[in-house]
Subunit: 228 residues, 2 copies
């Protein structure tokens, strides 16, 4: 029941679009569970195949390798955030409110209800937090970047940059601030969960209010805006 959103993702991510078939959706669904459970390095296509009662060969018909499956998942998440950011900022015309909404959308993306049934957004969010840097810290970055595989984050960043420039056109580091905030949204949650001495925030269950406050504080301070 319910309508499943399909995101149009870069075709370089897969051989066959997993969003279009039953097996494809099962691959996505179970890979999210397995990666979260085992960690990316111990996750294998063999284990995934066993989990969904299929075969390695069948999975390879969708994804060239597990690295690209990870890039796919991260891209999916970021496209989703882009989409949220778009719809949540409708009818907001004050640029400061727009930035606040953007930060809320980024931090709370996994709490939205209208994700497809085969995607456990909470788990996917957790994967983004712990594994996403591995998607681009590789020898293939330049090649994959050229193919457009990292466009979703880059677009996300540019939306923030546009807001920063609206708010304070003289701020000298809009792109740095965008990427820093996006990283912060992941790393600070990770620290809160594993390396507490590296953060001041706490995250309980799915409550990201402290994260949001810190992100807004940082953004506004750097842009030279006094918060209310």
């Amino acid at each position: 029941m319910g309508v499943d959103v399909q995101l149009g993702l870069n075709k370089g991510l897969f051989h066959r679009d997993p969003q279009e078939t039953t097996l494809g959706k099962k691959i996505i669904e179970s890979s999210i569970i397995l990666i979260e459970d085992l960690g990316f390095e111990d996750f294998t296509f063999r284990k995934l195949a066993k989990e969904i009662g299929s075969t390695e060969a069948s999975i390879y018909r969708y994804f060239e390798n597990k690295h690209l499956l990870l890039v796919f998942l991260i891209s999916w998440y970021n496209e989703w955030v882009n989409y949220l950011l778009e719809i949540n900022s409708r009818n907001i015309f004050d640029s400061i409110s727009k930035l606040e909404t953007a930060i809320d959308s980024i931090a709370d993306a996994s709490l939205d209800l209208y994700t497809p049934s085969y995607i456990n957004m909470q788990l996917l969010h957790h994967i983004v937090i712990t594994e996403s840097t591995k998607a681009y810290h590789t020898k293939r970055v330049d090649k994959e970047n050229q193919e457009g595989l990292f466009l979703p984050v880059k677009i996300l960043a540019e939306k923030l940059v546009a807001l920063f420039e609206e708010i304070n056109p003289d701020y000298p580091y809009p792109r740095l601030l965008a990427s820093t905030l996006l990283e912060m949204a992941n790393s600070q949650v990770f620290y809160a969960q594993h390396l507490k001495r590296l953060t001041d925030i706490e995250v309980e269950k799915e409550d990201y209010s402290q994260l949001k406050r810190a992100m807004k504080h940082t953004a506004f301070k750097l842009l030279g805006i006094e918060e209310m």
Copy 2:
């Protein structure tokens, strides 16, 4: 010729301290070259053994696995930065100058001359930039954190925190700022080299002046200090 510094690192990092033997030093020296060359995922102990004319078994006598070798390298780097920070801030008593010096030390750590002959600091820096998040984004974080394997970064962060508190005791996010700045020192360089749209800075060869300016700007703005 020259005296080689030996850093006292956590014994949980290795079976046998590689800094103490000829083979150990060769392992360090060549692993830095190989990891930088192949990327961490394609780097193997077999290739390393071949490179230094030794055997896998001998390398395993030093490191339990390549993950711990990576953690060792990152720890070494961070201990080095801690050491630099210490000696460079001697005789500086103004806390703002101390912070500036700290940022300089962090960004320029790989340019220092007095590193051991078997450690190519430029390459190691590059490894830190591209591979360091992999050292702690794993299922073993909590266990390894408990064993103290990540102490070097945490100590580094606390030194920054102490400075922030000296400069502005009311700043609400000192730990977040510390970890954010430390990440920035790596990620922004990575972006400058691979994903230019995510940064405003440029890094040419080993010139990190734009990075340092951005880090200082960020730190001072957030701490509420006007720069000169």
